[in-house]
C-alpha cells in the first residue's frame, strides 16, 4: 500500500508540478465549473457573512505562537516575553501587542491550529492552498479560487495581488495564468516598471509593441499549441491592458499621506499593509502579504522585540484605517503561519519548528470579535481542545467559494457573528475526521462550526 501511494504523493519539483498542473484534467475541466459551483452553492448558502475582500498576512518561517497570540505566563515555556491584558476579560496577549490588545473585542483567535509538517516549504504550501504539496499538481491559492467562483471583479486591475511572495508561490496553480495574482516584491516600489523610461512617449511604446508583435508572428505561429508560449501571450495582453489603465495609481504608495505611513510603520510590513488597503479600496479582492524572518532558531527573544511590535503597529493601523473608511466590515484580515515554535527554548536562545499547535488571527469582515476558538495546553505544546487542521482553515474546493466570504474557518467565524452562537450544519457536508469530531464534541458558547462542503477529490 505504501508503495502504491508512493507515486501519488511525492513532493516534487516545481517544474514538474507545473507541467502536470496543466494537464487537461486540471485546466479544462475546472474552467467549465464556475457556473455550476455558483448554482450549487446558491442552493445552500448560510446566511450572513459580510466579507468581500481579504487581506491575508502570512508570516513566513513559522511565527512563535507563545510570543504573540498564545502566551503562557508562569509556564516554563514562556521565556522573557511577558503578557498583557486585553479589553476582553480573560483573554491575554503578548506584551508586544499593546494596540491589538485594545482591539481584542474586534479580533478572533484560533489557538488550536495543528499540522503534521514541520518543513517550511510544505507547511507554507498548505497554508496557501490547503493541500499537501503533490508530485503531479499545483493547487491554486485563495485569491485565484475566489476569482474562479465569483468571477473577475475588476476590468483591468487583477483580482489578487501577492506582496513579497517569492519565486515559489503557487499562484493560480492549475487554474492557469489568467487567475494569477500579480506579485509585488517590495510594497514601496509599487508595481515596478509601469511607466516608460524618460524620453519615451506612450505613443512610442505603442509603436514598439506593434513592431514586437510583428516580429513575434512566426514564433507564435510555430508554437501556437505550446501552453507555455500561450501563457506568455495571455500575460502580454493583460500587461497591455493594465498599462493603459488609470487604476495603476492603486499601486502607488506615494499617494498616501506621511502621517498615515507613520501610523502603519515604515517597515516592510507597515508599507505592505498600507498598500493592501489601497489595493482593496481600488477593487482588488484578495491581497496576500508575506512577511518573513520568523524562523527564529537563534535569538528568538531579540527578534520578538522588534518583529512583534511591527505586527502590532501595522495590523492595528490597518484595522483603524479600514474602519474609518467603512471598509472593515467588508474586509477580512487574517494572520497565519506554517507552524508555531517550540515551547522549549534551545541553546541558542531560539525556538525550533512546532507544527503541533499554533495560532491564527482574524479581524474585520464580519468576524465576531472577542472570541478565542480552541485552546493549547499549559505549555502551549499541544492542542487541548478543538483542533483545527489547515484544511479546515482554508477551503479545499471551489464549491466553498460560492459563499461571499473566503475560507473555511474564516467563514465559520463570519457565520457565527451574524447568526448568533448557533450555527446549522449543511446537509451536504462530507466532514473530515477531525472536523466531525470537533462537531460532535461541540463546545457550547464557543460557537459550533458551520459546515462547509469539503470535496476531498477536488
Amino acid at each position: 500500500m505504501k508503495k502504491a501511494l508512493n507515486s501519488m504523493d511525492e513532493l516534487s519539483r516545481r517544474k514538474f508540478m507545473w507541467n502536470f498542473a496543466k494537464s487537461s484534467l486540471g485546466v479544462s475541466m475546472l474552467s467549465l465549473f464556475p457556473r455550476n459551483i455558483l448554482a450549487e452553492a446558491g442552493t445552500a448558502p448560510p446566511k450572513g457573512g459580510t466579507a468581500k475582500n481579504v487581506i491575508y498576512i502570512y508570516m513566513n518561517g513559522g511565527m512563535s505562537h507563545i510570543d504573540t497570540f498564545d502566551p503562557k505566563p508562569g509556564s516554563k515555556s514562556q521565556g522573557p516575553t511577558e503578557s498583557i491584558k486585553t479589553n476582553v476579560p480573560g483573554i491575554i496577549l503578548s506584551q508586544h501587542l499593546p494596540q491589538l490588545a485594545k482591539k481584542m473585542d474586534k479580533i478572533a483567535l484560533i489557538r488550536s491550529m495543528t499540522s503534521k509538517t514541520g518543513v517550511h516549504e510544505s507547511g507554507t504550501y498548505m497554508m496557501r492552498t490547503a493541500f499537501r504539496p503533490s508530485g503531479n499538481i499545483v493547487h491554486p491559492t485563495m485569491g485565484a479560487w475566489a476569482q474562479l467562483a465569483l468571477g473577475r471583479r475588476g476590468q483591468r486591475l487583477p483580482d489578487s495581488v501577492t506582496i513579497g511572495g517569492g519565486a515559489d508561490h503557487p499562484g493560480a496553480g492549475f487554474l492557469g495564468p489568467q487567475f494569477s495574482p500579480i506579485p509585488i516584491n517590495s510594497p514601496g516600489d509599487g508595481l515596478p516598471y509601469s511607466k516608460p523610461p524618460k524620453g519615451v512617449s506612450e505613443k512610442d511604446v505603442e509603436s514598439r509593441m506593434e513592431l514586437a508583435r510583428a516580429f513575434d508572428e512566426s514564433f507564435r505561429h510555430k508554437y501556437k499549441k505550446n501552453q507555455d508560449v500561450k501563457d506568455y501571450e495571455g500575460f502580454y495582453q493583460e500587461t497591455v491592458d493594465l498599462l493603459q489603465s488609470e487604476d495603476l495609481s492603486a499601486f502607488d504608495l506615494k499617494k498616501e499621506p506621511n502621517d498615515l505611513k507613520e501610523k502603519y510603520g515604515r517597515g516592510q510590513l507597515g508599507s505592505a499593509a498600507l498598500l493592501a488597503r489601497r489595493l482593496i479600496e481600488n477593487g482588488v479582492r484578495f491581497v496576500e502579504i508575506n512577511h518573513g524572518g520568523w524562523d527564529t532558531h537563534n535569538n528568538n527573544f531579540n527578534a520578538m522585540e522588534t518583529k512583534v511590535p511591527a505586527v502590532d503597529q501595522a495590523v492595528g493601523a490597518l484595522m483603524d484605517d479600514l474602519e474609518s473608511r467603512g471598509m472593515l466590515k467588508d474586509t477580512l484580515i487574517v494572520i497565519g503561519s506554517e507552524f508555531g515554535r517550540t515551547p522549549n527554548i534551545n541553546v541558542n536562545s531560539g525556538r525550533d519548528h512546532h507544527p503541533r499547535v499554533y495560532s491564527t488571527f482574524f479581524a474585520g469582515g464580519g468576524v465576531a470579535g472577542g472570541q478565542v476558538y480552541g485552546e493549547s495546553d499549559e505549555n502551549a505544546f499541544a492542542v487541548k481542545e478543538n483542533p483545527v487542521q489547515i484544511e479546515d482553515f482554508i477551503p479545499r474546493s471551489p464549491t466553498a467559494w460560492g459563499f461571499r466570504s473566503i475560507s473555511g474557518c474564516m467563514r465559520r467565524m463570519v457565520a457565527r457573528s451574524s447568526s448568533g452562537t448557533k450555527a446549522s450544519r449543511s446537509p451536504r457536508s462530507s466532514a473530515s475526521a477531525s472536523e466531525s469530531e470537533t462537531l460532535r464534541k461541540g463546545t457550547p458558547g464557543r460557537g459550533a462550526f458551520l459546515r462547509l462542503r469539503i470535496d476531498p477529490d477536488c
Binding site: 504523493d9 516534487s12 507545473w18 515559489d168 509585488i184 506568455y232 500575460f235 493583460e238
Partner: protein, 656 residues
C-alpha cells in the same frame, strides 16, 4: 610504441567470413568490445559475428567492465542515441529535425555558457566551414569561464546558496569555492564529500559553507542532503514516520546521528575584550561602527568541528514504541552497509560522507546522472528529481542504466558527462512545437521547449551591453578574507578597529556589517554599471539578488528551497522588459551591441547585426521592411526601437 600483445587474443570471424585478431573486452547489450593489436578498440554488433563466435561470447572472461571501458565522448553519445532510437521505434515517436547552425549556436551558448552568443561569436560559428564545428563549439564552451558561471547557477539553485549566509557571516568564500570546484572540474564525489566532512572556519575551509548554510537547523540540513545527493526525501520522517514511504522517524534520527557530534559554532570570540580595548575611540559611539566591530568578531564564532560526544537523541515528543524521548540514537545509514566507525580515527561525518559518495551507493551516481539529464534536456528520466521512489521506472530503463554507469565510468567527471550529453544527436534536435500531454511519458523527440532561466535572461542582457562579460568578476572574496582572517584570540582591539575603519573607508562597511553582499573595490575603478545595476553576470552578483532585481522578477530562486527558481511568466516580467532599465541599456549608445552597430554603414547590415545579436538569426524580408520603416520614421532611435521590439518577443525568451 611497442605493440600491445594480445594475451587473451583470438581470431574472430564475422558473418561474412572475414577474420580479425582481437581480445574480448566485454559485452554491452547487443554489442561487444574488442581490442585489436596496437590497442585499437572496436565496438561490434553481436549479430555481425559468425554464429559460432556469437556462441563463444558468453563463455569468455571479459577484460573490462562498463565502468572501466575506455570510450570517447562521441562514442558514448552515439550509444545514448541508440537507446533513444530504440524508444522512438518502440513508441512510434518521430525524432525532431536537427537545428540549423544559427539555432544550434544559440542553444549551445545558452545551455553551456548560460547566455546568448554575441554577434561576433555567432557569425564566427556560422562562417566556419569545419565539419566538426558543433563539437568544437561544445568543447570550447565547456572549457570557458561562461560555463563556470552557468554551472555555478545550477549549484546555487540546488544548494540554496546565499551571500548572507547566516547572521554575521558572509558566504563569499563558499560561493568562490563552488566556482573553483567547477573550474578545476573537481570530481562530483569529492565535491560532495568535502562539503559533508569539512571542518574549520568558513574562510579557512570554504566547503564548511554547506553545513553553515543551515546553521542551527542540522536536521533540515540533513533532509536537504538526502534529497539533493540521494534523491530521497526523508523530511516527513523528521517529525513522524513517513506516511507513504518506509522511512520511520527513527531512521531519520539514525542518519542524523552521523552529524550528532558536529557543531557549526564554537564561540569564544573575545568580543568583550576587543570592545573594551577600543572603548575610548570616538567612532565606537556610532552604532553602525560598533555593530561592525561586533559582527567581525562574531564571524569567528562559526567553526564547524566534531566533538567527542554525540548529542543526538530522540525528540521530546517522540511517540513510537521503538524508543523514548531523549534516547541516544546510534548512527545508521538508510540503505546499504553501515560504514565502519573506527573509534578516534574516523569521524562519523567522514564515515557517512564515504558511504554517501561511494560509487557503489545505489543512489549517488544515479541521482546526479538523472539530475543532469533533466538539466540538459528539460525532463528527467526518473522523477521526481529529489525523491525518486525505489519503484520508479525510467522513461528508458536501459538508457538510465547506461547513464548511471557512464557517471561512474567517467569517475564523476561532470564536465565529461555533460560533454557526452551535449554530443548526442538529441541535443541538436529542435524542441517540440506542441507542449506534451503531461499524463503521458515524454520520449525525447527533442529537448523540451523552455523559457530561459532568470540567469540566462539577465546574462544575455549583460552580454549585449558589456564586451567580455565573463571578465566582470565579483572581487569581494579576497577582500572579505583579508578583512576577516585573523587570530581572533590574540588580535588587538586596535587591529580590529583599523580593519573596520579601512573597510568603511572603501564604502563597504554598512553591508559588510550584516554579512551582506559586498560591492567590490573595482566599483570606483570603472566597474560597469547602468542606473545602479552592476553589469556582471548573475553568478557575480549578490546571491540571491534583491527582490526588485530583474533576476528575481524573472524567477531567480530566493534560495530557501532546492530548485526554488521558476520559469513561470508574470505581468511584472513583461513590464520589466518593456519599461525596465535592462532593455533601456541595450539601446543606449554605450552598449556593446550599439557600438558594434556603428561600425556598419548600410541599414541592411545594421538590421542584420541587431537580429543576429538578439535572436541569433537573420530577419525575414518582411521583418527587414518593418525595420526599415522604423528607421525611416524614427531615425537613429529606430534602431533602439527594433532592439526593444526584439527583446520583447517570446522568441527571445524561449530556447527553441
Amino acid at each position: 610504441m611497442p605493440a600491445i600483445s594480445l594475451a587473451a587474443g583470438r581470431t574472430w570471424t564475422d558473418a561474412k567470413g572475414r577474420n580479425i585478431e582481437a581480445e574480448f573486452l566485454m559485452q554491452e547489450g547487443d554489442f561487444i568490445y574488442l581490442r585489436m593489436e596496437g590497442g585499437r578498440q572496436v565496438r561490434v554488433p553481436l549479430k555481425s559475428l559468425s554464429e559460432a563466435d556469437q556462441k563463444v561470447v558468453p563463455t569468455l572472461i571479459p577484460l573490462a567492465t562498463p565502468e572501466t571501458i575506455k570510450r570517447s565522448a562521441a562514442e558514448s553519445a552515439a550509444i545514448i542515441d541508440q537507446h533513444l532510437a530504440a524508444n522512438y521505434a518502440k513508441f512510434g515517436v518521430k525524432p525532431n529535425a536537427k537545428l540549423r547552425d544559427s539555432e544550434f549556436c544559440r542553444r549551445a551558448y545558452l545551455a553551456i555558457g548560460g547566455r546568448i552568443p554575441t554577434y561576433d561569436e555567432l557569425t564566427t560559428f556560422i562562417r566556419s566551414s569545419e565539419k566538426d564545428k558543433r563539437y568544437r563549439l561544445i568543447d570550447q564552451l565547456l572549457e570557458s569561464e561562461a560555463f563556470v558561471s552557468n554551472f555555478y547557477n545550477f549549484w546555487a539553485d540546488t544548494l540554496r546558496v546565499k551571500t548572507e549566509m547566516v547572521e554575521y557571516l558572509n558566504g563569499a568564500p563558499y560561493i568562490d569555492w563552488i566556482k573553483r570546484s567547477i573550474r578545476e572540474n573537481k570530481p562530483y564525489d569529492m565535491f560532495v564529500y568535502e562539503m559533508i566532512t569539512a571542518t574549520g572556519k568558513l574562510w579557512e575551509n570554504p566547503a564548511t559553507g554547506y553545513l553553515l548554510r543551515d546553521h542551527g537547523m542540522p536536521l533540515d540540513n540533513l533532509s536537504y542532503t538526502s534529497s539533493v545527493f540521494l534523491g530521497t526525501d526523508i523530511s516527513c520522517a523528521q517529525c513522524h514516520d513517513h506516511p507513504f514511504e518506509d522511512w520511520t522517524q527513527k531512521d531519520f534520527y539514525h542518519l542524523a546521528s552521523f552529524f550528532g557530534a558536529t557543531d557549526t559554532m564554537k564561540g569564544g570570540a573575545p568580543e568583550g575584550r576587543i570592545l573594551q580595548e577600543i572603548a575610548s575611540k570616538p567612532e565606537l559611539q556610532d552604532n553602525g561602527f560598533r555593530d561592525q566591530v561586533r559582527d567581525l568578531v562574531r564571524a569567528h564564532n562559526y567553526n564547524v568541528h566534531d566533538t567527542i560526544t554525540n548529542v543526538l537523541s530522540l525528540p521530546f515528543d517522540y511517540k513510537y514504541e521503538d524508543g523514548k524521548p531523549g534516547d541516544r540514537v546510534q548512527p545508521q545509514v538508510l540503505f546499504g552497509d553501515d560504514p565502519v566507525l573506527e573509534e578516534g580515527k574516523t569521524s562519523q561525518r567522514v564515515a557517512v560522507g564515504r558511504w554517501m559518495t561511494d560509487r557503489d551507493n545505489p543512489r549517488f551516481a544515479k541521482v546526479i546522472a538523472n539530475r543532469l539529464w533533466d538539466y540538459v534536456f528539460g525532463e528527467p528520466q526518473l522523477k521526481p528529481l529529489d525523491n525518486i521512489p525505489d519503484t520508479a521506472k525510467a522513461e528508458n530503463p536501459e538508457l538510465m542504466k547506461f547513464l548511471e554507469t557512464e557517471m561512474k565510468r567517467v569517475d564523476f567527471n561532470l564536465r565529461e558527462y555533460l560533454r557526452i550529453l551535449f554530443y548526442s544527436d538529441l541535443f541538436q534536435r529542435e524542441a517540440p512545437v506542441e507542449s506534451h500531454d503531461p499524463s503521458k511519458t515524454y520520449h525525447f523527440a527533442g529537448p523540451t521547449l523552455r523559457r530561459m532561466s532568470a540567469e540566462q535572461i539577465w546574462d544575455s542582457f549583460v552580454s549585449m551591453c558589456v564586451p567580455n562579460p565573463e571578465e566582470q568578476k565579483d572581487l569581494s572574496v579576497e577582500f572579505y578574507i583579508k578583512y576577516v582572517d585573523m587570530d581572533i584570540n590574540k588580535v588587538s582591539g586596535e587591529e580590529v578597529y583599523q580593519r573596520v575603519k579601512t573597510m568603511r573607508a572603501v564604502g563597504q562597511g554598512e553591508e559588510m556589517g550584516l554579512g551582506a553582499a559586498m560591492s567590490d573595490e573595482a566599483d570606483s575603478k570603472g566597474n560597469i554599471t547602468f542606473k545602479g545595476m552592476k553589469l556582471r553576470r548573475a553568478s557575480e552578483l549578490r546571491q540571491p539578488e534583491a527582490p526588485s532585481h530583474i533576476l528575481r522578477i524573472f524567477g531567480q530562486s530566493d534560495r530557501t528551497l532546492i530548485h526554488g527558481a521558476s520559469k513561470q511568466g508574470s505581468i511584472p516580467q513583461l513590464l520589466a522588459l518593456m519599461n525596465g532599465a535592462a532593455t533601456e541599456m541595450i539601446g543606449s549608445p554605450e552598449s556593446s551591441l550599439y557600438r558594434r552597430l556603428q561600425e556598419f554603414n548600410a541599414d541592411k547590415d545594421k538590421v542584420d547585426v541587431i537580429f543576429l545579436s538578439v535572436l541569433s538569426r537573420y530577419p525575414t524580408s518582411d521583418e527587414r521592411q518593418l525595420a526599415y520603416r522604423q528607421i525611416k520614421a524614427y531615425g537613429e532611435m529606430g534602431f533602439a526601437n527594433v532592439m526593444w521590439a526584439l527583446v520583447n518577443t517570446k522568441e527571445f525568451l524561449f530556447i527553441q
